[in-house]
Amino acid sequence: MLFGPLGPSLAPYIKPSRSLYKWIKPIADWYANAAGYRKYGFKYDDLLVEERPDVQRALLRLSPHEKYDRAFRLKRASQASVQHAPLPREEWTKAAEDTRYLRTHVLDVVKENNERTMWDTIVIERK
């Protein structure tokens, strides 16, 4: 998934090991806060590169409520950017709110595309 829609991630290799996970988690939490997107009211999945067909397809699968909220966050953040200041502290995204709402949809689309490629290139042997 190095060049996939979700970008490179070491999480799948770290998560199985409990001790490694315990060491890395605080650093990851610190990094997510330090990245600064939460100050602009974003969730992590708002930052996914959306200029690609699979993410576009995943975006269509959000529920109307999720679509509305996403558009709201993008508008609020661009307004904050225009004003050259982060949002007031009470509007920052809390760690618990920073959910991966788009990830499952993106993974579904990737899986479907892979399956389509598989069926397109399948070699059939008659027995």
Partner: protein
């Protein structure tokens, strides 16, 4: 020697053509016929027609959800894999039943029974599939139905004749509030063991039973129910720009469908037995050239809708043809001749029998009987005509005419006739 062999052959076919045995496999009824066709088909017939839907359009949506992704395969996988096997998957909705059918080469039954049963047991009903594939299809089908005057006339006739239950439309409303959750809930309520029957043609009963047993092991059992049908009748007129001009004159009966109505329909039907000829029906000779009359006979489990579908290029010709049709029906009440009856019964018998010859007819006629627990054989379907007499047919016609007719006009409603203008 030869005649004897011919008769055994005939007997063999008679036995083989009907679903003689219905096996109860793990709570699911399985019936199968095999008379050596090169292809097999398996149909899962479910009591999930529009009659049982709690919300308008649910049955139609569920029908179009067939063969979408399940826990075992994705929608794409189902399509591609059945293409590799060379099979055809289809779903068909009637007012009482939803039929999921797979037709395939002999020997591929394991895969196709699995495709059918996995939709029943483990369909996912994802929201994006509903939005991307199912809803556009439902909408397109409903819109196409609006532009077909005969379909529209029969839809409205059902709504007038039976109101709820059988009266509910086969098609989803163009603007509806159906969600995937609704469809999922409806599916879990109708996809139960007692509600479905598995019918096979060109497949061995034991093979099919074995496959079914494995597939439906975990399905629950409950039956869907709806209140008994009641006939109301009434008149409606629907403005429509699509041609031909259409009038439907219908009559309903409740209770199990009788052979008398089928014989009456055959008696009135102006469809000739020889192509390009006029036929001997009382209607065919006197209707205008640019009009047509069809008899519509729709038997359901506890009611029958019988009617005359009059179509023509102009409202005037529809009016004239409608008068002729009503007159023919009225003259049937005052008794029909013995030879006419013989002809009608022979015609009705033949159309029943020829319908049962094909795979679709076998499944759509005998399948519901198996679901209803009735004797499902070709013999009983044909022997019901033995009790038909001239007096019983004319009595049926007069009881129908004494009730309130269902009258639907579709087209230029300004000039299409009203029920009283046709002599009803």
């Amino acid at each position: 020697m030869l005649p004897a062999r011919a008769s055994t052959l005939r007997n063999f076919h008679r036995v083989a053509r009907s679903f003689a045995t219905v096996a109860d496999t793990a709570g699911v009824r399985v019936a199968s016929v095999d008379h050596g066709q090169p292809t097999s088909s398996v149909t899962i017939l479910v009591k999930a027609g529009s009659r049982f839907q709690p919300k308008a359009g649910l049955a139609h949506s569920l029908k179009n959800f067939a063969f979408k992704s399940t826990a075992k395969r994705s929608a794409l996988g189902i399509v591609r894999e059945s293409e590799l096997y060379g099979g055809v998957l289809s779903s068909n909705l009637t007012r009482e039943h939803l039929a999921l059918t797979a037709e395939f080469m002999r020997g591929d039954e394991q895969f196709f029974v699995d495709v059918l049963s996995s939709f029943i047991t483990s369909a996912k009903y994802t929201r994006h599939e509903y939005e991307e594939y199912v809803r556009p299809l439902v909408k397109a089908e409903a819109e196409a139905a609006v532009f077909d005057p005969s379909t529209q006339a029969i839809e409205h006739a059902h709504a007038l004749a039976f109101r709820s239950g059988l009266g509910s439309s086969l098609f989803a409303p163009t603007h509806n509030t159906i969600t995937v959750e609704d469809i999922k809930l409806y599916a879990t309520s109708v996809f139960t063991k007692d509600n479905l029957v598995v019918l096979g043609t060109g497949i061995d009963q034991t093979t099919l039973s074995k496959l079914v047993e494995r597939a439906f092991a975990s399905t629950s059992s409950a039956t869907s129910s709806s209140q008994a049908s009641k006939y109301y009748g009434g008149e409606t007129r629907v403005e429509s720009l699509s041609s031909p001009q259409t009038v439907f004159i219908g009559f309903g009966t409740t209770g199990a469908p009788s052979a008398d109505v089928a014989a009456l329909a055959a008696h009135l039907s102006p469809t000739p037995s020889v192509k390009w000829s006029q036929g001997t029906s009382p209607i065919a000779a006197s209707i205008p050239k640019d009009s047509s009359v069809q008899t519509i006979h729709l038997p359901y489990s506890d009611a029958t809708l019988f009617g005359l579908l009059v179509q023509g290029a102009t409202p005037a010709s529809v009016k004239e043809a409608g008068k002729v049709a009503v007159q023919a029906l009225k003259s049937a009440t005052s008794g029909i001749k013995a030879e006419e009856l013989q002809r009608a019964v022979a015609k009705a018998k033949f159309s029943t029998a020829t319908n049962l010859d094909g795979r679709f007819g076998l499944v759509s006629v005998l399948g519901p009987k198996i679901l209803g627990g009735a004797d499902a054989s070709v013999e009983t379907s044909l022997s019901s005509f033995n009790g038909v007499s001239a007096s019983s047919v004319s009595k049926t016609a007069s009881t129908m005419l004494s009730g309130k007719p269902t009258f639907v006009a579709v087209g230029e409603i300004g000039s299409l006739p009203h029920a009283d203008e046709l002599g009803l």
